[in-house]
Symmetry: C2
DNA sequence: GCCAGGTGGTTGACATGTCATCAAAGCGGC
DNA sequence: GCCGCTTTGATGACATGTCAACCACCTGGC
């Protein structure tokens, strides 16, 4: 193994800052969301993704892919949300194996009630603290990293049989 | 409630990119760390923080604060790591309630074996994909957000009795 | 010195996420 | 049409994290 290239001071600062921010920002957003709307972040993400689709419904696998969740996780989570009346499972007309999740009226109300406050929190704790250039840079850099990771996954998918 | 200020296109791009990156980067780093070194990210963080202290040992509360973990979580996790022989609990000489966690020889070996690969992964999937300006910007922006959140916590701590 | 209240850490019950496995249904070659 | 293989989603066992309750000990006012 070659001598490892450790992180220099600036790199280390960025990396530690990123991890700290991730943790604190998550905690705070989750805290406020739960307090104000009674939803966890995963709840909100599911409802939000569903509410953005034209028909307020999605195939499970499609939703899982969008959210970068495993099918198993989604299935468990939807069962809990279904218990609470936020979503409902329907049969898929075009594929007998499949299911479709749909937003219920209560689910739609829940996202609509939660969204303004949640967006405001995201602004207050992140977006509004950044300059226009930083927002631009953050968008560029995160997408580059995401594309790189997605490409890596592709490669791995082909490689390992 | 005022009309919510939704995110504009650039803000949305940054926010979505951030969340996607967070998820994918985490998964990939955790995957490689487990595969190469048999450690989870929480394991690595504990070992890494301990190995950075002069004496390879810390009070539990001190470690919990540094890691932004609850005491409960730390206690549970240390029990598991202790089972595996990576750390050991000692009595605190100066405070009869307290405990101290110390790195074992095996624990030290584990971090030292894991570190080069992990740093390389962080470089490969994040740091080396960014320009010097982006690294600088990421460091600045994350620290600003962290400071803001920490200040908010302070305020809340005083406010709610 | 002693007691009231705070602090440090552990614990158990519960919520959530992961992994492996499974059944049911689709798909494709023959 | 049939059979093997894949895909979809559900499920159960397990790992991990959270929350509230708890004990032991410290600390400060009296």
């Amino acid at each position: 193994m070659d001598a490892p290239r450790w992180l220099d001071e600036r790199e280390d600062r960025a990396w530690r800052g990123y991890r700290r921010m991730r943790r604190l920002l998550d905690l705070e957003l989750a805290r406020e969301l739960m307090q104000d709307a009674g939803l966890s972040e995963p709840d909100y993400d599911v409802l939000s993704d569903l509410s953005e689709t034209p028909d307020q419904r999605l195939r499970l696998s499609e939703l899982a892919d969008r959210m970068l969740w495993s099918r198993s996780r989604l299935s468990h989570h939807l069962s809990r949300m279904q218990q609470r009346g936020l979503v409902i499972r329907e049969e898929c007309p075009s594929d007998g194996r499949g299911s479709v999740v749909a937003l219920t009226a209560a689910g739609r109300q829940a996202v609509e009630a939660a969204a303004p406050g949640h967006v405001a929190a995201v602004r207050r704790h992140l977006i509004d603290l950044l300059t226009a250039e930083e927002i631009e840079a953050l968008g560029a850099l995160t997408h580059r990293v995401v594309d790189h990771l997605a490409a890596g996954e592709q490669r791995r998918g082909r490689a390992e049989v």
